[in-house]
Structures are given as structure tokens and as C-alpha cells.
């Protein structure tokens, strides 16, 4: 065995340590494992490699991936990420630390989480948020679980069709075999059918889940929905791309009970879908139903302000088999990234970024729809995404754009096969007029 840089023990030290223990070999330390199960061969894996070799091999894999000017969205977006975000996330005391169990030496991590919670509360308008969940889809699951666990005799979650197909799929995985019905309420032309949702509000409905901007990019008009849901003693869960909330109505303003979503647009690279951050926020009365870590403000023995993990009675390590969520590890470092991002852009920046997305998306929309005559799935308003019904020409369009160095949009049928011929196009503040004009020029040839 070579002296590996990650393994400090030298031969001499190993010898001396074995002596202290009172055994004569490393093998003796594994004598409690029956020979009948002991691995009798070497693992069929390559031998150790040096740092340089590993770096070369992984660089090679990275180079095998290709990219293009991206109009892809549907849950992951190509926004500008300030350099400070990565620099701070790379500070050793942030990324090499664990869950801040020991508050006295973890004030920095705790305070950063407290700030994250505060920002999520402010953006959603809610009272209380947790330290993060895995992603937007599992955040919706946790919200649904909160709703189910807050009401008696409920066995149904109503989900508008316009919720992200993956979110619906994950809901089905989580609840499908638990006797809880995930009932999809069909949409009309890319928008939720609120009349149908109201009609479906029966006493066994624990919650209604809607998403705005929805999977097709359109903003939903939730006027009156909360009242109807609340009259039914159900909970309203609203999922939102938080980047929209600088200019679009927040979940609290729609009078939702639980706000969820994904903060990937806030300072996190797409990274093939993860890590991102699921956020969840709710009203004070549901605070003790909230899953996951929560940081609270308190004081130390000298009366100074301090932060600490709190309300732990909710959590799996205390509740064990009575727990309603099993979350333990979360997405803390990614949540830190979001916190840094939001600190940098500030209240003005959130509005500006949202407005840039909005303006640019409308520029491309208008050129494609009004100028080229492409068919929009739905009418405005939308935020930074809209959907075209390209029909049989979808293949041609997407391929022509790709040849021109452009990812033209998400073929929604890849998320749900019912949506043949639909292409959802996302435009962020990073896209330029020149890039969009190129898009239009290529599309003109195909459409």
C-alpha cells in the first residue's frame, strides 16, 4: 500500500498503535467478522490514482458534455451568478462543517441559516420558513404531508394539472401507496381550471396544490381560491419560482397556507438538476408542523444574541417512528448560496432581475407569436417562460436551433407525454437581444 495523501498513518505509527490496542495486525481488528462473509477477493475497481490522474479523467468527462445558448427552463434556469456567491461558499468553515449541533462554535452557520429563513419569509410573505429542503418537488411533498397531518379524515390532495409534472410524479411516489389520493384537476389551455378545482373541494381534501408561474410559464389568477379552500377547511399550497416574486404576487398575498418552490434561480448553477434548494414557508399556526431544521434566535449565558437549532421536538431524531418527516441532511450549503445571492442583489435587484426576465421573455414571445405567427398555448400574463404549440414541426425546430447553437426550449412531452408538440421557452436576464434575434431567424426558416 502506498502512503496515500489522504491517509496520514505511517508504517511506524500503525505498528505503535496496534501495540497500544494490544493486537498484532490490522486483520485482528476485523476478527469480529465471520470468515464466511469476509470478502475474499480484492474489489474489482481500479487501483488508487494520483490527484493529477483523477483531475485529468474528470476533466475529460466534463469536456464530453456540450452546451449551447439556453432557452431551457421548466424548473432550472440559466441566470447570472455573481462571483461572490462561489467565493463565499468555498470558505472552508462553511463547506467543511456539519449540521450546527454545537451552537457555540457554529454561530456563523446558524446565523446564515437564520438569514435564509428570514429572506424566504420575506419573499413569500410567510411567517416561518425552515433551513431548506431537497428541491422544489420534495418541498411540495412535505407541504402536502403537513396538510394531511394537520387535518383529520383527509385522504386527498387536489393538484392542478399545471403543476410541474415531476412534482406530481414525486407526490404520487410518496403518497400513492399510502391511501392518499393525488387527484389531478385538468387544465384549460395551459392554465388551471379553478372552477373545476372548486367543484372538487370535498371534505376529504387535505390540500390544494397550484403552481404560479405554472409549468407552461403562465401566471395563475388565484383570486378567491384561498377563500374557497379555507371554507372547505383545506390548506392551499402555492408553489412559485421565487425569481418571479419580486414583481408577481407572493404566496402570502394569495393567502396561501404553505409556500413552496425551488431557489435554484437564486445563485445556483443548473448543475444537471442539483444541488438546488427546496424552500418551504408557512403561517405561524403551522410552525410546529414544519419539517426539517429550524434555527431560532436566543441568548447565550452572558445575554448576548445567539442562534441555535430549535423546535427539535418536531424532528425525526426525537419523534422517531412518530415523525411525519424523515428529513435530516438538507441543502444547507446551497441555501447559503441563495442567501449570499439575495444579500447581493437586494430588494431592488430582485425587482430588476424579475423585470429583465419579463421584458426579454416578452420580446422573444412577441417576435415568435406576433411576427412569425407561432401559436401560443395560452394568453398572457407570463413571467419568464411561455409555451408554443409547434405541433408536428417540433422536431425540426428544436434540431434547427440546436444546429445554430441554441437550445430552443423544453419539449414538454419529455416531462409528460400528453404534451406533444408543446415547447416551453425560458428567457432569463442573461439572454441578449442578439441571441433572441438569432432564435427568431432560425425559427423563421422552420415555421
Amino acid at each position: 500500500m502506498i502512503q496515500h495523501p489522504y491517509l496520514p498513518q505511517t508504517e511506524d505509527e500503525i505498528k505503535s498503535m496496534l501495540e497500544t490496542i494490544g493486537v498484532s495486525s490490522i486483520d485482528d481488528l476485523f476478527s469480529d467478522i465471520a470468515p464466511s462473509v469476509l470478502l475474499q477477493k480484492e474489489l474489482n475497481l481500479p487501483k488508487t490514482k494520483t490527484e493529477w490522474e483523477v483531475y485529468q479523467e474528470l476533466s475529460h468527462l466534463a469536456e464530453k458534455n456540450r452546451s449551447a445558448i439556453s432557452f431551457l427552463g421548466c424548473g432550472s434556469y440559466d441566470h447570472i451568478i455573481p462571483s461572490v456567491v462561489g467565493r463565499i461558499m468555498g470558505l472552508p468553515m462553511f463547506y467543511t462543517s456539519y449540521t450546527p449541533y454545537q451552537a457555540e462554535i457554529s454561530q456563523g452557520v446558524l446565523q446564515a441559516i437564520f438569514e435564509f429563513q428570514s429572506m424566504i419569509c420575506s419573499i413569500t410573505g410567510m411567517d416561518v420558513a425552515n433551513a431548506s429542503l431537497y428541491d422544489g418537488a420534495t418541498a411540495a411533498v412535505e407541504a402536502a404531508a403537513m396538510a394531511v397531518n394537520s387535518s383529520r379524515n383527509s385522504d386527498t390532495i387536489l393538484v392542478s394539472e399545471t403543476v410541474h409534472p415531476s412534482t406530481k410524479a414525486v407526490l404520487r411516489t410518496y403518497f400513492g401507496d399510502l391511501g392518499i389520493n393525488i387527484v389531478e384537476v385538468p387544465a384549460e389551455k395551459g392554465r388551471s381550471n379553478f372552477a373545476a378545482i372548486r367543484d372538487a373541494l370535498k371534505s376529504e381534501v387535505a390540500a390544494v396544490l397550484v403552481q404560479t408561474p405554472n409549468i407552461f410559464g403562465y401566471l395563475e389568477d388565484l383570486t378567491g381560491l384561498a377563500d374557497a379552500v379555507h371554507d372547505n377547511k383545506s390548506k392551499l399550497i402555492v408553489s412559485s419560482n421565487p425569481m418571479s416574486l419580486g414583481i408577481a404576487r407572493s404566496q402570502a398575498e394569495w393567502n396561501a397556507d404553505i409556500a413552496v418552490g425551488d431557489t435554484q434561480p437564486f445563485g445556483l448553477p443548473s448543475y444537471f438538476g442539483g444541488p438546488s434548494v427546496g424552500y418551504i414557508a408557512t403561517r405561524e399556526k403551522l410552525m410546529r408542523k414544519l419539517p426539517g431544521r429550524i434555527v431560532g434566535q436566543t441568548t447565550d449565558a452572558e445575554g448576548k444574541r445567539a442562534f441555535v437549532l430549535t423546535l427539535q421536538a418536531r424532528e425525526q431524531h426525537i419523534k422517531r417512528e412518530r415523525a411525519t418527516s424523515n428529513i435530516c441532511s438538507n441543502q444547507a450549503l446551497a441555501a447559503l448560496g441563495t442567501t449570499i445571492y439575495l444579500s447581493l442583489i437586494g430588494k431592488q435587484g430582485l425587482k430588476e432581475a424579475g423585470n429583465l426576465c419579463l421584458q426579454k421573455a416578452h420580446y422573444l414571445h412577441d417576435r415568435l407569436v406576433k411576427e412569425l405567427g407561432a401559436e401560443a398555448l395560452s394568453a398572457e400574463p407570463f413571467f419568464n417562460e411561455f409555451t408554443l404549440n409547434i405541433g408536428s414541426k417540433t422536431d425540426d425546430l428544436i434540431k434547427a436551433l440546436r444546429s445554430g447553437g441554441i437550445y430552443g426550449g423544453v419539449r414538454v412531452e419529455n416531462l409528460d407525454e400528453r404534451y406533444q408538440g408543446l415547447v416551453t421557452i425560458a428567457v432569463t436576464e442573461k439572454r441578449t437581444k442578439q441571441e433572441m434575434d438569432r432564435y427568431v431567424d432560425i425559427a423563421r426558416e422552420v415555421l
Binding site: 502506498i2 489522504y6 505509527e13 497500544t20 490496542i21 494490544g22 493486537v23 476485523f30 465471520a34 464466511s36 474489489l43 474489482n44 488508487t48 490527484e51 483531475y55 474528470l58 476533466s59 466534463a62 452546451s67 421548466c74 432550472s76 472552508p92 468553515m93 467543511t96 462543517s97 456539519y98 457555540e104 462554535i105 457554529s106 454561530q107 437564520f114 429563513q117 428570514s118 420575506s122 418537488a137 410518496y174 400513492g176 401507496d177 408577481a248 444537471f272 410552525m287 430549535t310 423546535l311 427539535q312 425525526q316 431524531h317 422517531r320 417512528e321 415523525a323 424523515n326 441532511s329 444547507a332 450549503l333 444579500s343 442583489i345 437586494g346 430588494k347 419579463l358 421584458q359 436576464e429
Partner: protein, 484 residues
Amino acid sequence: GETQLIFERSVAGRRGFLFPENDVETKPIDNLIPENYRRNGETCLPEVSEVDVVRHFTELASRSFGVDAGFYPLGSCTMKYNPKVNEDIAALSGFTSLHPLQPSEDVQGILELMYKLTKGLCELTGMQWGTLQPFAGAHGEFTGMKLFKAYFKSRGEHDRRKILVPTSAHGTNPASAHISGFEVQEIEADHRGLVSIEDLKKHLDENLAGIMLTNPNTLGLFEKDIETIATLVHDAGGLLYYDGANLNAIMGKVRPGDMGFDVIHMNLHKTFSTPHGGGGPGAGPVLVSKRLVKFLPVPDVEKQGEAYDFCFAHPESIGRISGFYGNIGVLTRAYAFLLAMGSDGLTAASEMAVLNANYLRSRLKTSFSIPFEGICKHEFVLSAKNIKEEFGISALDVAKALLDAGIHPPTIYFPLIVPEALMIEPTESESKETLDRFVEVMESIAKQAAVDPQKLHDAPHQTPVRRVDEVQAAKHPIVAWRPE
């Protein structure tokens, strides 16, 4: 002392980042979004300059503790060294910039990585195939429990709803089983600290779905009877779930698959050294034996000829468990670790982890109580019972005193079956000198318990804040800053 909140640094009008100007016509926002859809309230996001943000978070970092600061023997969490090259690799733009819905011909590199990592993990654990999607260990447990469910459903065994969990198990085990729709029954430990075969036998009936085990268990002891347990459970029609939290003890030595486990999750943020990040992101891949492969979540990564692609066509799959494909940024680091260690390095890592634990255990057993005899694996549990009874010094006091020595305390009060437990996991990354210094500090604390117990009750003394009032936090929760 105190640190300002970022909100308290805010000054109206200050900017920390600017977006490029709009290069298309700017239309009145009212024309694009009707009033009814518009936000009314302001957010409280801070208005600060770039240097404000940098100094604020740099200060917060300096008020935290990580593996790069020193010894972090937090039992069951495997706080090993996070190699720096893995951070450089994970930051390659060929990985970071990938959108999850790019065409598969443009993401061959990452798909190859996912495929090869899955294969490597299977070889390491003796399993058939797996999924990399679970975001964390608990998410892996949940996935595993859903696989159990799908298995029994496919067999029409709808009454198998009972999951056995040892009393010493991590809290996530019973919680995961519960939220997946199982009933949890606890199995007791015997005098050896191992699963009581006698008690186990009492629970083997037609309602048995299976058992969740960590091996070595949370006492750091290898479940010697694992073959017997596996036979008993399998014979009773149940399945075995392996909680990979303690896999760092046995790599290259014994494989969960060979022990008879049907499903396992790994914690890549433990065993494979991906940074813990203050609580996440992690990755909890789930690997299964042959008969459970068809139930794995979608999408699956497949190799067809020389090309890699996602496959959704698994009719018996439990379905999606995440919005996209999991924490890919964690997987890149884990794959780098797999390559850097290799078969010999992984084996040596476990050997050194076990050596370090036994060395510490041997040296600490004179000053503290040891609840169970014999060799341990990668971690062990010490008890402060002796100094608690004699001098009133609790495990918590010991933990807080360690803070003053610049050492992260062990996990305390877990497992629940040991009073005043201190659960110590040194990992393979630590040198003998680091361990020797830890012993020195622990011995001096034990001595101080006799001489000046109040000093220990008042500990820590040197930290940014003194002992923190947890009761107040829970009684009067303040969980968000609000503008006055």
C-alpha cells in the same frame, strides 16, 4: 461577541450587484402583468455593497468550525477530510452549466460518470444496480422502504407492514419506515450490544416486511450474527435494509450484499468525503439486489453500446423521487474520491478508520466508562457515567469543554441505550498526533471534573458565544428577522 445580521447592515439605496441593462425595448410592467397578479408588499432583502456582503459572510465563516479547522470526531457522521481537488473538479463548467433537460447526446460525460459511479458503488457493496437520485441518507432510506413496498405489492403480500429497527438505530430509520407507510417495531440489543436474536425471533411472522440495520451498529460494533439474522428474516419472508451510515468501517472487508442485505443506501457525504456543507447537500444512493432492480426509481441511467441515456420505461418502478436526478454536484466529487482511492485505497481507508477508533478507545478507557468490551469498528461509544456520578459532569459538559480546546465534540446522548454517551468517530483522515492530543484533552477534562467541576459546567469559555439557551429558543421561537 455579536455579529450584525445582514439586514442590520442595510442602508437604503446601496447596491451589491447590478444586472446588465435591458437591451430590448422596456415596456411598462403594467402592460405585461395586470395589477391583479402584481406583488404589493416590499421584501426586506438587505441593501448592501459587495464589500458588505463579503465581510459579513467572511465573518460568519470565522465564527464556524469545519474539518479544515481541526478534529471533528462526530460519531456516525464520518467527518473525514474533504480533498481539495474534488472542489476544483466539481466546479468545472462542463458540469456546473448542464441543464437537466439538455439532449442526452450533449450530456454524455455526466451520464457516463453517473453510470460508472453506480457500477463502482455496486462493486463496493456487493449489490446489483442502483439509483443515485436520493438527496441524502434519509431520502435513501425512504426510497429503500418504497422499494420494499413495491416488492411486496408485486408479490401480493399486502400485509407485510412491519419493519423491525434496533433500539440503537438512527432516528431516521423509524421515521423513514413510518412515512413510507410501515409500522415500526423495536428490536432490543443484548448484553453484547448486538441485535438480540432471541428478541428478533419473536417478531418474525407473516406481517414482517423486513429489518433495517446499520452494521457495524451505532455502538460501533459489528453485528456478528448477521448471517443468522439474514437467514431468519429471509426465511420469514422479509427483506433486509442496510443503513450505509457506517459503511466507512468495512470497505473492501465485507459487503452488505454478501451479508444478505437486499437494499442499501450509502451516504456519499460520509463515506465518500463529499463536504457536509453545514448540513447538506448530501447524496444517498440506493443500491439493490437483483430481485429489486426493476422497482428502482426513474429515470435510470443506461448504457446502450457506447452511448449513455436516461430510461423511463420501468413499469414496476416506484416512480420519481426527485424533481430531476438528485445532487449531481455531490456525485462528481464522490466519483473523484472513488478514483483517487481505488480498490486499495478504499480498503486502507476502512482499515485506518478502524485502527484509529480502536486506538482512541484503548487510550480513553481508563478515564471514561466503556459500555461494551472487545474491538470496535470505525467508531465507539464512551460513557461519561463515571464522572457524572462522581462529580456531576455530564456528557454535555465534556462536549462544551472540548470546544475550548478547538476540538469538535463527539455525538452526545446517542445511542439512547448508553447513558451519558459520547459517540466517537475519528475517521481515517486523522493522524496519530491528532488522536494523541484528543486523548490528552479528554484526560485533562476528566481530571478537571474532580478539581473544578464548575469550570466545566460553565464551559465553553473561549468561543464566540458562551453556552446558548436552547430552552428560550424553543419556548419563544424567533425564527426570522423582521423589519421593526
